[in-house]
Amino acid sequence: MAPLLAVLGVGVFALVVNVVRYGFARDWLDPGGYVVAILKPLFLTVPAYLVLRVVLIGRDVVAELSLLSRALADAALSVAGFAPVVWFYLVTSPTPTPVFPLFSLGFGALAFWAPLLVRLGRSISGTKGRLLSYAWLASLLLTETYAMVEWLASGIEGRL
């Protein structure tokens, strides 16, 4: 359920930005690509992380999944909650229409990743195997930044 919520939350945000942009510039910015860019590092690394936590530290898979689900749900709620704010920002800012909505889309990534990292960071602090978790979070942050920068650069260059 939580992965679906994450896709829905980020998708709603991407749709809001895209619909506003389409209204102004008749230009579609690939909302699906944005969802993939945000969630890809997470979905690709979670299985390996879970296996390592279970094998090396002996954590309960169900508890780990529950923790991740809660963090994902919070992140999805956060990015969806900021969608109306960004809609308001977009429709009231007289930005020239050909400009790629760099700040709005970057803000969406921040609104998703900050709660996710905060929730996961808080829940693993003080527990056994936190070094592994922190290393995973750091690598997640790096790969996510890389994926998002790549996607934004494509948007700036007009290749979406």
């Binding site: 709620l77 308001f88 800012s93 700036i156």
Partner: protein, 296 residues
């Protein structure tokens, strides 16, 4: 009217009000409130008795947040509208009322838009308070802003110079002081809803939304004489935005020539924007947009 006055007194003296019995129980780890606390409640209830506040609880009960929300929003909007009526240099009644509506609208839009992010923050940081109570607290802040703004009309009329730019800056300064005053006064309240970090996040969020709402509704002193918010247009169309885009391209290893698409109206794959389409018909912004190179 009596309820509004009672609420006003309560808002202005948050440190005098005490938590309701339910809150005191939760703060004391489930233990019943001490006799000292009860004595304090009675003393404070005595202070508020003339204002019509319930003597048994001292302040409006927790489950009455809907009623206080209505009163607070009423106080906020009427106070801000009153401020708006007096800050314009135009003598026409219609223009004064329009500015009053705009000022009230700025704060109402901020209030409405801040609710979803605040709910996300509440969930993320496991705040145990009910969301309705949090909404009520936010409305209480806005009510105080309205009260402070309405009493700032007098000093504003004394200090105004009759010059649109200076008076615009003065009006914004008074509103900023009202917002700051509301935060300071509410910080004295006995009830702590958020930790200081979460409070800082919520304040930054709300102030950012307030700035955006102010930019959106543009409650200028004079329709043909824009004031402070105008600088933002230049920020987004000027060199700062291009620097940000260049940084992204360089980080992605694509530091080559910039595409035509992002260089304003010379876009090759998109129709050039009309200034009126991006300015929502605002004449002052239209003028600025034309000055930075957008088509008319």
């Amino acid at each position: 009217m009596k309820a509004v006055i009672a609420r006003l007194v309560e808002l202005l003296r948050p440190s005098g009000a005490v938590p309701s019995s339910a809150f005191r129980t939760s703060m004391s780890g489930g233990r019943p409130p001490s006799r000292d606390a009860d004595t304090r409640v009675d003393a404070d209830a005595g202070l508020h008795a003339d204002a019509g506040v319930d003597r048994d609880v001292g302040i409006v009960p927790e489950n009455d947040s809907i009623r206080t929300l209505t009163t607070d929003l009423l106080l906020a909007l009427s106070g801000l509208a009153f401020f708006g009526v007096w800050i314009t240099s135009d003598v026409s009644v219609a223009w004064r009322l329009w500015i009053a509506l705009k000022i009230a609208g700025v704060f109402l839009a901020t209030f409405v838009l801040s609710l979803a992010p605040i709910y996300a923050l509440k969930r993320l940081f496991d705040v145990e308070a009910r969301f309705g109570d949090l909404v009520s607290v936010i409305a209480a802040h806005f009510a105080l802003v309205g009260v402070f703004a309405s009493v700032a009309v007098g000093p504003f009329l004394l200090l105004r110079r009759g010059h649109a730019d200076a008076d615009g800056a003065l009006a914004i300064a008074f509103l900023a002081a009202s917002v700051l005053g509301s935060i300071v006064v509410r910080a004295r309240a006995p009830r702590r809803w958020f930790t200081w970090r979460l409070t800082a996040v919520a304040v930054v969020l709300t102030v950012a939304l307030l700035g955006q709402s102010a930019w959106a509704l543009r409650p200028y002193m004079n329709p043909t004489h824009p004031t402070l918010f105008q600088a933002r247009l230049e920020w987004f169309t000027g060199s700062n935005r291009r620097t940000a885009e260049d940084v992204i391209l360089r980080l992605a290893g694509r530091g080559g020539a910039r595409p035509e698409r992002i260089q304003g109206s010379e876009a090759v794959d998109l129709p050039a924007p009309s200034a009126s389409s991006v300015c929502n018909g605002q004449p002052e912004v239209l003028e600025q947009a034309q000055s930075v190179g957008l088509g008319g």
